[in-house]
């Protein structure tokens, strides 16, 4: 049985195909202006990579903000449910996933079947979301994907006094003017962002075993800073942390289609 999960986010679209509980294909694209176009492209691409058409799927679950624009979807699921299920599939003994996306951040606690127990969500304030790092990367004129490596060279990290993205941007500009080292600044940014995300996660009580998903999880500096802020060891994911939502949607598709989720 071949099923798929499709996660149409505001910045990127992801699709994962699983067969008998194992991932056989995945694909990530930058989101198009219309969610319908993103869905067609990402689903077309992922199925083409295994020589099939989306029409041949046994079941498909869609999620993300564009979840209602996926024409092959048999049902839709919340991002919360999908992230829990996807994280559980990859790290079965984790009980919490912290997902930092481009425009939001969430912490989800789940049970030993990957079902949601409790969650908390921030999409109201840009601080503590991927947008924070994006804006800072622009201000510092470095590439977002290089921030982790640059921060690793920090000798004397700065402490930021502002949480607000707008105020923090001004603060780092004055730090640059003061001649502070860029690696020390970026390290300080990671700490500031991590403390914001950590307080979100703590608001639903931390689980003993935590994992992390979303594009920001690829930044080793953020990963380490969050570990430090939470005072727990975060279990890394063996897959691209950006596709966890789509994977969860695929696992739910498997369950709905009557197959074995593979656990």
């Amino acid at each position: 049985m071949i099923v798929a999960g499709c996660d149409i986010g505001s910045l990127s679209a992801k699709a994962v195909v699983i067969e008998d509980g194992s991932i056989i294909a995945s694909h990530v694209i930058r989101a198009r202006p219309l969610p319908r176009d993103s869905a067609r492209e990402v689903m077309g691409e992922v199925m083409r990579s295994i020589g099939l058409s989306p029409d041949s799927l046994d079941y498909c679950v869609s999620t993300g903000y564009g979840r209602n624009s996926v024409e092959w979807a048999d049902s839709v699921e919340s991002e919360i449910a999908c992230h829990a299920k996807g994280a559980w599939k990859i790290v079965p003994d984790a009980r919490m996933v912290i997902d930092i996306g481009g425009q939001d951040a969430k912490a989800v606690r789940f049970d030993d079947q990957g079902n949601v127990v409790r969650y908390v969500y921030n999409d109201k304030c840009a601080s503590g979301t991927g947008r924070f790092l994006e804006i800072m990367a622009e201000a510092l004129d470095v590439r977002l994907e290089d921030m982790g490596a640059i921060a690793a060279r920090a000798q004397n990290p700065v402490t930021l006094s502002n949480q607000c993205v707008v105020f923090a941007e001004t603060e780092i500009i004055s730090l640059i003017n003061e001649g502070r080292d860029i690696s020390d600044i970026i390290s300080g940014l990671h700490t500031a962002m991590a403390s914001r995300v950590a307080s979100l996660a703590r608001s639903i009580e931390l689980a003993e075993s935590v994992t992390m998903s979303g594009g920001v999880a690829k930044n080793p500096g953020m990963f380490a800073a969050l570990q430090e802020a939470l005072q727990v060891k975060i279990r890394p994911m063996a897959i691209d942390p950006q596709i966890v939502g789509a994977l969860g949607a695929a696992v739910i598709a498997m369950e709905k289609a009557g197959g074995n989720g593979g656990a």
Binding site: Q103, K124, C125, A126, R131, I135, N162, Q163, C164, V165, V166, F167, S174, N177
Partner: protein
């Protein structure tokens, strides 16, 4: 007897010179990176207008976020105290002062004697501070002081869904791309600003009369929306609302000097 008040804010610095209780001059300059330099520049300008020299100032009180770095002050006072004192002088019946600065917003409640009974400040989030308007004016390609008159020309005002300055920026860009008239967007920006300030003001409790201080008080759009949201008339001050903190500081300077001089 000459005394002075100097208010070094994040975006602008203000100075007021008094001869006893009469205002001789005032000045407003844009703040530079060094609060000490800003203080010196604005004082020099105010002294110049009054035809005075620094050594003729008997006492000077500093306030504002850079107050600890003003080299020539005798004493510093909190911004809350200074805004309350300045507003009270201009309008003895005032009971609520809403001050919107470049990077913060405060609501202050006074009792009948003019003492501060309660205040609340937001300096954590740019939404609801002058910074929000600054960012939006830049995005719209207009001057900050044009936002008020622009919003009066709005034909079909819209509203912004986001509170966060960063997300609201994305919304405004979207409206610009849709060719929404600038005036309509300006109205939405002012309304969003007033919405945030209203929440802060309500948390301190609105008591009549109400006045507004700080640079944003010159924006009639924000003022009008705020009046509507709070269902109260906001009284206009007879001087530049930006210098109220410096005026209050100058009155404290006068009192301190009298106390020292016995």
């Amino acid at each position: 007897m000459i005394v002075a008040g100097c208010d070094v804010g994040s975006l602008t610095s203000k100075a007021v010179i008094l001869n006893d209780k009469t205002m001789l001059s005032h000045a407003v300059v844009r703040s530079s990176f060094r609060p000490g330099d800003s203080a010196r520049a604005v004082m020099d300008q105010a002294l110049d207008v009054a035809g005075l020299k620094m050594d003729e100032v008997r006492y000077c009180v500093g306030t504002g976020y850079g107050r600890e770095k003003i080299p020539f002050v005798n004493k510093v006072y909190s911004e809350i105290a200074c805004h309350a004192r300045g507003a009270r002088h201009l309008m003895p019946s005032v009971r609520t002062v809403i001050d919107i600065g470049g990077q913060d917003c405060k609501a202050i409640r006074l009792d009948d004697s003019g003492a501060v009974v309660k205040f609340v400040t937001n300096d954590k989030c740019a939404a609801g501070t002058g910074r929000f308007l600054d960012v939006m004016a830049r995005l719209l390609g207009v001057n900050l002081d044009e936002l008020g008159s622009l919003s009066a020309q709005a034909q079909a005002p819209l509203s912004l869904a986001s509170t966060c300055t960063v997300w609201a920026q994305a919304e405004v860009i979207h409206h610009l791309n849709e060719n929404t008239p600038i005036a309509d967007i300006a109205a939405a920006v002012n309304q969003a600003m007033a919405g945030r300030v209203a929440i802060l003001a309500r948390s301190v409790g609105i008591d009549r009369e109400v006045c507004m201080t700080g640079g944003v008080a010159k924006n009639t759009g924000v003022l009008t929306y705020l009046e509507k949201l709070l269902d109260v008339k906001i009284r206009r001050l007879r001087i530049d609302p930006q210098i109220v903190g410096a005026l209050g500081a100058a009155f404290y300077a006068w009192r301190e000097y009298r106390r020292c001089a016995g």
